[in-house]
């Protein structure tokens, strides 16, 4: 077997694996839902709707968003005839981002979200996901540098808009 043939075979396999990974992970949809959720949370903070409303939004909206993503994935798997792996690295990264967002402080959570989004982008070779990761990191750095009056509001708005942008761009590609 020749060097060029071996290299081509490796490339073909890598391309096929990437295509399958992308088919089984419609990240654009998760980005749209998560983007809308975080943008909405920034709006709730901006109008100062109160703790009860904010809590209801985070619990109810979070559960609804998660249910939407799961339902879409299940429907897509059935339509495509392709089921994702239970122990999937992409799902692991997403779970780590959500955990960090709940447990960590504002800018730190944002930096973890940026790192996670970049990792998913690298794994799926998705340029919109990579762009979103870079945008989230830029928002975190800007908040650290400027130290605005309401860092949570700006953080969630930046996170939400970055994900929304990646979701919209991804849905059209």
């Amino acid at each position: 077997m020749e060097h060029a043939e071996a290299a081509r075979t490796l490339d073909d396999v890598a391309r096929m694996r990437r295509r399958t990974r992308r088919a089984v992970h419609p990240v654009w949809f998760s980005n749209l839902v998560a983007g809308a959720f975080f943008t909405g949370s920034a709006a709730i903070m901006a109008v100062d709707a109160g703790t009860a409303v904010a809590l209801a939004y985070w619990i109810g909206g979070g559960a609804l968003g998660l249910a939407l993503i799961v339902a879409y994935s299940v429907r897509l798997e059935r339509e495509l005839g392709l089921e994702g792996r239970p122990a999937d690295p992409v799902l692991g990264i997403v779970a780590a981002i959500v955990t960090a967002a709940v447990l960590l402080d504002g800018e730190l959570a944002l930096l973890v979200a940026a790192a996670g989004t970049l990792a998913v982008g690298l794994l799926l070779r998705d340029r919109f996901e990579l762009a979103a990761g870079a945008a989230i990191a830029a928002v975190a750095v800007a908040i650290l540098a400027v130290d605005p009056a309401e860092p949570w509001l700006w953080g969630n708005l930046g996170l939400g808009l970055s994900l929304l942008g990646a979701g919209l761009a991804g849905s059209r590609s």
């Binding site: 694996r17 399958t20 239970p86």
Partner: protein, 103 residues
């Protein structure tokens, strides 16, 4: 040390079968129709290659129904995933060997 070219497994190395294992390595299981479309094959061609992989214990085939729709699911076995990884390793070693001898 064995030459990397001798480590290539004929069952796995065939282009279509390598494609089937590549798809299955990223999924829990794939439907026959998905594999056929993703690899741009005919039903008969795909069936033959799946039979070869199944006989070698590299994939598992499960037939069933989803509502009224018949479905054939194909899943890589642990041996199948290992065989794909070994094939990739042998190919990388082969490339490294040629690069080293050319330098």
């Amino acid at each position: 040390m064995t030459h990397p070219a001798l480590q290539l497994d004929d069952t796995v190395h065939q282009r279509v079968r390598l494609g089937i294992l590549a798809v299955l390595s990223e999924a829990r299981r794939a439907d026959f129709a998905y594999l056929r479309d993703a690899l741009d094959l005919t039903d008969g061609n795909l069936s033959r290659h799946i039979a070869v992989l199944e006989q070698a214990g590299l994939v598992k085939v499960e037939k069933g129904f989803e509502g009224k729709r018949p479905r054939t699911w194909v899943e890589a076995t642990r041996a199948g995933r290992r065989a794909l990884a070994a094939e990739m390793k042998a190919l990388r070693e082969l490339i490294a060997l040629v690069d080293a001898s050319a330098a």
